[in-house]
């Protein structure tokens, strides 16, 4: 509060404080604004995520259940025996289509006429006879009895039951006729129709009938493919990053290599597919449609990502760490393996995970090497024909049947689950290694 003693050029202390305070106020405001920008950015990004995942979840969640119809099926001895003997072979050869149809018609004895009978038959899945066959094969003692069994309803009935088909609109544009709706209502009234847990979807391979189609085949295919990719790309990528960053001489050539690798991320992925077709299928002779070939192609694609991220992570390790290690007499290799690499690991893992996630979601290069295919049988190893999750999604998205819409979304959810599991394991790894300095 003292006056201006030193001279005219200087501000009073109170003025100084005032300026500082004012400045502080605006600086704090800037700080708050800054924080809010950050929060806003994260909120926007997460908002997109919620929107995306939410819309998929809403569409795909209904796949968890599947409409089934309870039929009472007679299993007469003569149908299942050959020359009076019941064997596994004679059970397998029985006419299950006829059995299922006749037991369905028994429920509606007053249906007559070819057209109506056909409409009635189409209530039940065309895969239902095989469900019955598998059931009888597993329980041969049922032959000669009359059994109650829950069989899959057709996709149209399933869609009707789940409310995707509007029963109130004019019947000309509707997949289900008025008569079929009448039968459907009667089945419900009789307690013969209900939704059960959809085991098929989680345990079987692809099918042309939506109610018989499953994601498990594609999940296995993705697993084998990613294993091959990981085994090839991760060790190669990390060693290359280490060599280029820590040991290689810094000259025009290594610059060129660095730039070249950085650039590969911009080569459209379908080009890698072409290369895979030319080199791995036609020259080396890997089997078509096999996860092995797919994995190798995807490894080529992820390699640059892993190398770039690996080098960035190594660059981020402060030189003082290296100098300290070298100073106490460690060799260059010891410095790298004992000190630099452990510190750079979190970054390398981040890059690898992003690369693997990219590989997990990739469709285009697999197009060229035959993995965009209809494959029913579950793959037993990396050499069996298989498809992968995103390709399965792509195939289902292009199928005309309405029930595949639900399955497309459900396939995406499964894919995302894979991704979350991968990310979680990476986060845990990262947490163990991460450190600030």
């Amino acid at each position: 509060m003292s006056g201006n003693r030193e001279g005219r050029g200087r501000m009073s202390r109170s003025d100084t404080m005032e300026t500082v305070r004012k400045g502080l106020r605006s600086r704090y405001a800037a700080e708050r604004r800054f924080i809010w920008y950050g929060r806003g950015a994260i909120a926007v990004a997460l908002g997109f995520l919620v929107l995306l995942v939410g819309s998929i979840l809403i569409k795909g969640a209904s796949v968890v259940t599947q409409t089934h119809i309870r039929l009472t099926v007679e299993l007469p001895l003569e149908t299942f025996s050959k020359n009076g003997v019941v064997t596994a072979e004679s059970i397998g050869a029985a006419n299950y289509v006829g059995l299922v149809k006749s037991s369905l018609r028994d429920l509606f004895p007053d249906v007559s006429g070819r057209r109506d009978k056909r409409a009635l038959d189409s209530l039940i899945s065309s895969g239902a006879p095989y469900e019955l066959r598998d059931h009888v094969l597993a329980n041969p003692e049922l032959v000669g009895q009359s059994i109650d069994i829950w069989l899959s309803a057709s996709d149209d009935i399933d869609m009707l039951d789940k409310g995707y088909i509007d029963r109130d609109i004019d019947s000309t544009g509707r997949r289900v006729t008025d008569k079929q709706i009448g039968w459907y209502d009667k089945l419900i009234a009789d307690g013969r129709l209900e939704r059960q847990f959809n085991t098929t979807f989680f345990t079987s391979g692809d099918s042309r009938e939506p109610e018989q189609a499953g994601i498990w085949g594609a999940a296995l295919g993705s697993f084998y493919t990613l294993m091959v990719t990981l085994l090839l790309a991760f060790p190669l990528g990390v060693t290359t990053a280490v060599y280029l960053e820590e040991f290689a001489p810094k000259n025009k050539w290594t610059d060129l290599i660095e730039v070249n690798i950085n650039n590969l991320a911009a080569v459209p992925s379908i080009i890698f597919g072409l290369l895979g077709l030319a080199v791995f299928l036609n020259i080396i002779g890997l089997p078509r449609s096999a996860p092995l070939a797919g994995g190798v192609v995807l490894a080529l694609m992820t390699l640059p990502t892993i190398i770039i991220a690996g080098r960035a992570a190594l660059k981020a390790v402060p030189p003082s760490i290296r100098e300290a290690a070298l100073g106490v007499g460690a060799s260059r290799l010891q410095t790298v393996t004992h000190h630099v690499l452990p510190l750079a690991m979190p970054g390398m893992l981040t890059g690898s995970i992003i690369g693997m996630a990219q590989a997990l979601g990739e469709t285009a290069p697999l197009l060229m090497i035959g993995m965009v295919a209809f494959i029913v049988d579950l793959p037993g190893g990396p050499l069996d024909p298989a498809t992968v999750l995103p390709v399965q999604v792509y195939i289902w998205a292009d199928s005309p049947e309405r029930a595949f819409v639900e399955r497309t979304s459900a396939g995406i959810i499964v894919l995302l689950l894979f991704l979350v599991v991968m990310n979680l394991s990476a986060v845990m790894l990262r947490k163990r290694f991460e450190r600030r300095w």
Binding site: A41, A45, L52, Y243, N262, A266, P268, A312, G361, T363
Partner: protein
């Protein structure tokens, strides 16, 4: 199967011989002598000798064994079967192989097949025994050699390190060769293309309509190969994408690294990374069915004509997709900025925001630029979103409300379906790929320069 067992055995051998070498070295030290290297190095040295030669033999064996045995099987078949043409001979050998492992085969009761299958079984057994003996011999030999060599003056560490270095160089050579190979193949096909279409027409032409007729009886597009419109399309969409992703990603990264609690960060970061993992097909649907109609309708409400396949829709959604590339990688480099810098800045009285703006971001700039570049290249190379949400017809415009097509979309449409590797149509896909490569190359070189110039080495 036998190979997996052999691999497991070799892994065990590794541990055993390591212990052996280390033990020997320890014993010498206990005897009062000074060793050149640490006992562990002698362990590694001994393990390398024991395992590496055996591993090589295993590899070579696994490659050549089936070929040799197939040849022997064929030679053992009766003359009339040997005379079959290759296709049927292969089928027969397949059957024999299937039979010997117990799979169902077509001609299960053909005596020739049965006999050959049992022969095959015998030979495979013999081969396996031979392999086992050979590997065991090599392991023992290796152990003996290393045992004799281990002595106080043996420079085990240097030798082991030299081996590791060779390994490093080899693997990076493989990686570099494949990456160079990809570029070379692009280059080769592009040269083929430029033999058909003049370079300047491709580079400066303003009209793109490559779908020429493949067959004599088909009529396609007019067959002009001017790449400018589609490059403008790529540029437009990528710019929109970066305009979305750069601020959101960067601010998210800064917030996560500097402001949020570690726990929140541990949740948010992987959550954001999910955005990068959502299959691009899904983004495509999202863009085509949700964003594009929304934009069109809101545009109509405002009196702006927005195409239903506008560049804006595709760019927006692509921007969302590449957010994690910016956020995760930038977060990593920001976290890696030495703490001393932060503390120095705080000590001078700077607020956190000022520290970030004036100290941390400049320090982390090379990494941030790298992250942005990775995101940009991802945007330029992205395919499915634009295939589904943007158009296929080339349209030279800078208006984000109009439909444009991109380089990748054109590459996909040129390469899927009918292709003819001697027509300019299919080859132009490679020329596009190459041009894309060159453009990003230029971008990268520029970025490298910038980073070199402004990078500040702290610490």
């Amino acid at each position: 199967m036998i190979y997996w067992i052999a691999l497991a055995a070799l892994a065990a051998t590794w541990l055993f011989s390591w212990k052996l070498g280390q033990g020997q070295a320890r014993a010498i030290i206990a005897g009062g002598q000074r060793m050149h290297s640490l006992p562990g190095h002698y362990g590694s040295y001994s393990a390398l000798w024991a395992v590496v030669p055996a591993l090589m033999v295993l590899l070579i064996w696994s490659i050549f064994q089936p070929m040799v045995i197939d040849g022997m099987i064929v030679a053992s078949l009766p003359q009339d079967k040997q005379a079959l043409d290759d296709l049927f001979l292969n089928a027969l050998v397949n059957d024999i192989r299937n039979m010997s492992v117990g799979n169902a085969v077509r001609d299960a009761d053909d005596p020739v097949v049965i006999e050959a299958a049992s022969l095959l079984g015998d030979w495979q057994m013999t081969s396996n025994i031979l392999l086992a003996v050979l590997i065991a011999a090599l392991v023992i030999l290796g152990l003996v050699i290393s045992r004799r060599q281990i002595a106080p003056e043996l420079r085990a560490r240097n030798r082991v390190e030299r081996f590791v270095m060779v390994l490093l160089i080899m693997s990076s050579t493989i990686a570099v060769i494949t990456t160079v190979g990809i570029v070379m193949s692009l280059l080769y096909e592009s040269i083929e293309f430029f033999r058909r279409v003049p370079f300047y027409e491709f580079l400066f032409g303003l009209h793109w309509s490559p779908q020429t007729a493949l067959r004599a009886d088909q009529v396609g597009g007019s067959g002009s190969f001017g790449a400018i419109p589609i490059f403008m399309g790529t540029l437009l969409i990528s710019t929109i994408a970066l305009a979305i992703a750069a601020p959101i990603g960067l601010f998210s990264a800064i917030y996560m690294a500097e402001f949020s609690s570690p726990r929140a960060r541990a949740v948010i970061k992987p959550l954001l990374e999910i955005l990068a993992g959502v299959p691009t097909v899904v983004y495509g649907f999202f863009a085509a069915l949700l964003v594009a109609p929304l934009l069109r309708d809101s545009g109509a409400a405002l009196g702006i004509g927005i195409d239903s396949e506008s560049a804006l829709a595709a760019g927006l959604v692509m921007g969302v997709m590449i957010i994690p590339f910016v956020s995760s990688l930038s977060d990593d480099v920001i976290t890696a900025v030495p703490r001393s810098l932060r503390e120095g800045s705080y000590g001078l009285g700077a607020t956190r925001a000022e520290t970030i703006r004036q100290v941390i971001v400049p320090a982390a700039l090379p990494g941030i630029v790298g992250a942005l570049l990775l995101a940009a290249s991802r945007a330029i190379g992205e395919t499915m979103i634009v295939v589904m949400a943007a158009g296929l017809t080339a349209n030279l415009t800078a208006n984000p409300f109009e439909a444009v097509t991109t380089v990748t979309v054109q590459i996909v449409t040129l390469l899927t379906g009918d292709q003819e590797f001697d027509s300019a149509k299919t080859l132009s896909a490679f020329a596009l790929g190459l041009l894309l490569f060159v453009v990003t190359l230029a971008l990268n070189v520029l970025a490298l320069r910038i980073v070199r110039k402004y990078r500040e080495k702290y610490d």
